[in-house]
């Protein structure tokens, strides 16, 4: 799965670097000074690199924890995000990452302990009051778990800090590290969904819908709190029938009464990201439709967006209690969703 690993010289001997490299004994190892030398050059093609992404192992020096944008969050007032990885195993055609980064390589920051310290400092700022930390902003939280051991590691940390709430955003079925341990009441695993037909067309390499539902079902049975994110809502012919079908498949298998939260999100792409993505994927039907620019952000026309939100809210209310539905969830596409 990984043929090339770039390693910052500084973290060559870091235990996590050794652990990751040991998983890919046949990979070419190439040393570099700073990951930006590989990741940031202008003349790179995200689309070509997605065919065979390399892994870059790096240290993150600052900005480990950042304030989440307004509108991000599910009820909490103190919302932050952190990214132990840049880029994603999957390749969703609507993903903002492909417009934000020039490179399709995965960057893994191995200094997890520095992220933990930053989270502790952030908690201290709020006198230990409940504070949300979102992962899955610049990557999928679980997809690379066998390589990164991210969840396994951070769950231990969040267990020691009950005021810190963690949302893991994902489309992955890699739930073993959760099922292998005791549940935590301050952790929510939030799964993003689009209808099956959309997922097959636009969410490359994402596990099949039924496998994901199966993973959620196992988490629910084990007692974990699970959230559902219909984010972004994708407009297409038959969208109503497809969302109905998605909701039916989900709620015939899941215990709606035990869901932590459900939210809807809109497709939003900053102008420059949209431009980059259209240049990379001029053959993509999604961008041939009538996305419109408004205040520097591309989205569906307001009336369409309202129509989709209204329809899906109505359809969802037949399945879930009203108090867990957050109809206008995150401002997404703009910044992160797994």
């Amino acid at each position: 799965m990984i043929d090339v690993i770039y390693i910052e010289r500084d973290i060559r001997d870091h235990p996590r670097t050794r652990q990751v490299c040991a998983r890919f004994p046949a990979a070419r190892q190439i040393s570099c000074e700073r990951y930006g030398e590989v990741f940031n050059p202008k003349t790179q093609n995200f689309r070509l690199q997605k065919r065979r992404p390399a892994l870059i192992l790096a240290r993150k020096f600052d900005a480990h924890v950042l304030k989440a944008p307004d509108g991000f969050g599910i009820g909490g007032t103190r919302n932050y995000y952190f990214s132990h990885m840049l880029n994603c195993l999957y390749d969703c055609r609507y993903c903002f990452l492909q417009g934000m980064y020039r490179s399709g390589h995965y960057v893994l920051f191995v200094n997890y302990e520095d992220f933990e310290q930053a989270i502790e400092r952030t908690l201290a700022l709020h006198d230990g009051q409940e504070t949300w930390f979102f992962s899955g902003y610049d990557c999928d939280s679980l997809a690379m778990e066998p390589v990164t051991q991210f969840t396994r590691h951070f769950l231990q940390f969040f267990e020691r800090h009950p005021a810190a709430c963690l949302e893991l955003r994902t489309k992955s079925t890699q739930v073993r590290s959760l099922l292998d341990r005791d549940i935590l009441s301050n952790v929510v695993i939030a799964f993003s969904f689009t209808p099956d037909a959309v997922s097959r067309a636009l969410e490359n390499r994402v596990p099949a819908l039924d496998r994901r539902i199966d993973a959620i079902s196992r988490l629910q049975t084990a007692g974990w709190q699970v959230g559902l994110r219909f984010d972004p809502l994708i407009h297409h012919q038959d969208y109503q029938r497809h969302y109905d079908e998605l909701f039916r498949r989900l709620f015939s298998r899941l215990d709606a009464g035990r869901l932590h939260s459900v939210s809807l999100g809109s497709l939003r792409l900053p102008r420059q990201y949209h431009k980059n993505i259209v240049r990379l994927y001029p053959d993509e039907t999604l961008f041939a439709g009538n996305l419109q620019e408004n205040c520097g952000m591309y989205s569906y026309p307001q009336d369409l967006e309202t129509e989709m939100h209204a329809y899906c809210t109505g359809a969802l209310s037949a399945h879930i209690p009203a108090d867990i539905l957050h109809p206008c969830g995150y401002a997404t596409g703009h910044k992160g969703h797994a």
């Binding site: 065979r52 097959r200 053959d283």
Partner: protein
Amino acid sequence: MINLVVALPAEARPLIRHYHLRSREPRGLFPVHENETIRLVVCGAGKVSAAAATAFLQATGDHAGMQGWLNVGVAGHAEQAIGEGLLAHRITDQATGRQWYPPLVIDRPPPSGNLTTLDQAGPEYPDETMLDMEASGYYPIACRDATAELVHSYKVISDNRQSPAGSLNAARVEDLVSGRLEEIDTLITQVSELAHELRALHAAPPELELFEANWRFSVSQRHQLRRLLKRWHLILPGESAWSGLPVGLRHSREVIACLEERIGVLMPDVPRHD
């Protein structure tokens, strides 16, 4: 189209023979040999010449979209066996310390290694790097014309600590490059395929010529028209955008506005996989 940048005539000869390249006439600043799909420039030794020859090839070639670039030549290495072929996965300019990392996205790339470009050849063989005199001049210039995935440097090891460069001659260099033609050919094919893939993505949409033949579009309108026709044919594959145009459109801006209006009401569908 793929562009080959080669320092020495002895390195170039096996490639010229293998690909039946013809000498470009009249000869310009640098000798160029070409056929329908490959252009080869002989740049002479040194990174300044390599940079100049790369720019020369860019300036005098066709500009039909994305092209591949390959620097082929011999290189020294402390321990690698003579005759081994290595793709550069890191290029370092020794004088400035600048480094580049050509992304390896082709299928099954050949063995690879570090490559250091020296201003002057010396008797030393530092550990774990190939040594040449051209790559750091060629690479950044080639990257101005192509995305980095299409720009590579491939070297055949010609000398090492056991067998230093002193005994090298033109015939030996020719033999060394000839011995790696198969691998070079695979690389050229793979890079060319990637370049072709990118070119195809940006090919003119159907009916563009028809519209351009009937109205005069400004440069920015031509961009708009391209994108609009591309969108039309993505949403309605096989359906003509031309045939539904109202008669009597006189100005190019009316044509653009009409297409925009018609596309605005189309509802794209997701591609079917069942």
